[in-house]
């Protein structure tokens, strides 16, 4: 099953592996990112931070759309990660299976404004997320499990 679909521009890091991985008893992590999928070197880099009992795999958006149902049916708990809203939208629009989204870390870039301490969004990204929410996808921001999940409407 997929325990968490998360947008986090640091991708695989401590909050994901430890903060969420421990309480969810995660068995696999899928990093959905076209650039990382194309780079064996970057894949090795991200594997370094993951303990051996957690399987790490890398998927392009197209591969993720095709394999999403397999991850849902996996008896282990998994985390699906994307680096940005655009990738999440591509996954959600094509896959139609994403029901809940966790915004875990979207940092400052030109064109983005601060919405929460750990969430910066451009107006386009905010609108894309509102459209996902309008389709019934539960979008909240929550960096670690012990924090309050902040509903999208509170920060966009």
């Amino acid at each position: 099953m997929i325990g968490l679909v998360r947008v986090d521009d640091r991708l695989i890091h401590g909050q994901v592996v430890v903060g969420w991985g421990q309480p969810l008893h995660v068995g696999f992590i899928v990093l959905v990112d076209d650039a990382v999928r194309a780079s064996a070197w970057e894949q090795d880099l991200y594997r370094m931070g993951v303990p051996p009992h957690i399987e790490v795999s890398f998927a392009s958006v197209a591969e993720a759309v095709a394999q999403f149902s397999c991850w849902e049916q996996d008896p282990r708990v998994g985390i699906v990660l994307t680096a940005d809203v655009a990738t999440l939208v591509a996954l959600a629009e094509n896959g139609q299976r994403v029901k809940r989204v966790n915004l875990g870390g979207i940092h400052h870039r030109p064109g983005r404004t601060e919405r929460l301490r750990f969430v910066y969004l451009s107006d386009v990204e905010a609108e894309q997320l509102r459209l996902l929410a309008a389709r019934g996808i539960d979008v909240t921001a929550q960096d670690v499990p012990t924090a309050r999940p902040v509903p999208l409407a509170e920060f966009t």
Binding site: D9, R10, L11, I12, H13, G14, V17, W41, L45, Y46, M48, G49, V50, G105, I106, H107, H108, R109, F118
Partner: protein, 126 residues
């Protein structure tokens, strides 16, 4: 080597700053280490901060965890540069050894620091 090696500590939150303060208070050495925190940084922002801290100088990058954004950022930054070396699991003991052995080449200094840090991890009887 024209000038001593520098160490750049790359950490979560304020770990790097705190370690540098501790090294200074114990050793009196204040010019050997620089802090970089990943607070509020995505991958590109961390890369820029590393570039500002390291510049063109040879250095050892000390990372707090053996995985995660600090490590991935540091390795990405150091890739292809033979004048940089990376050590994970930074602790006070390795830094105290490092600041007194900065005449070594980066790779040798990293090896030495890692050994010193490892030796400091014990389970003495209380």
């Amino acid at each position: 080597m024209s000038e001593p090696l520098r160490g750049v500590i790359v950490s979560h939150a304020g770990v790097a700053q705190a370690l540098i303060a501790a090294v200074a208070s114990i050793s009196g050495v204040t010019d050997a280490l620089l802090p970089v925190s990943n607070d509020g940084c995505d991958r590109q922002a961390l890369f820029r901060m590393l570039a500002e801290a390291v510049g063109e100088n040879p250095a050892v990058l000390f990372i707090d965890l053996p995985g995660g954004s600090c490590l991935t950022g540091a390795i990405s930054y150091a890739r292809g540069r033979t004048d940089l070396a990376v050590v994970t699991g930074v602790n006070l003991a390795m830094l105290l050894d490092f600041v007194f052995h900065r005449d070594l080449a980066p790779a040798a200094a990293a090896e030495r620091a890692a050994a010193a840090g490892s030796r400091a991890i014990r389970t003495p009887a209380a």
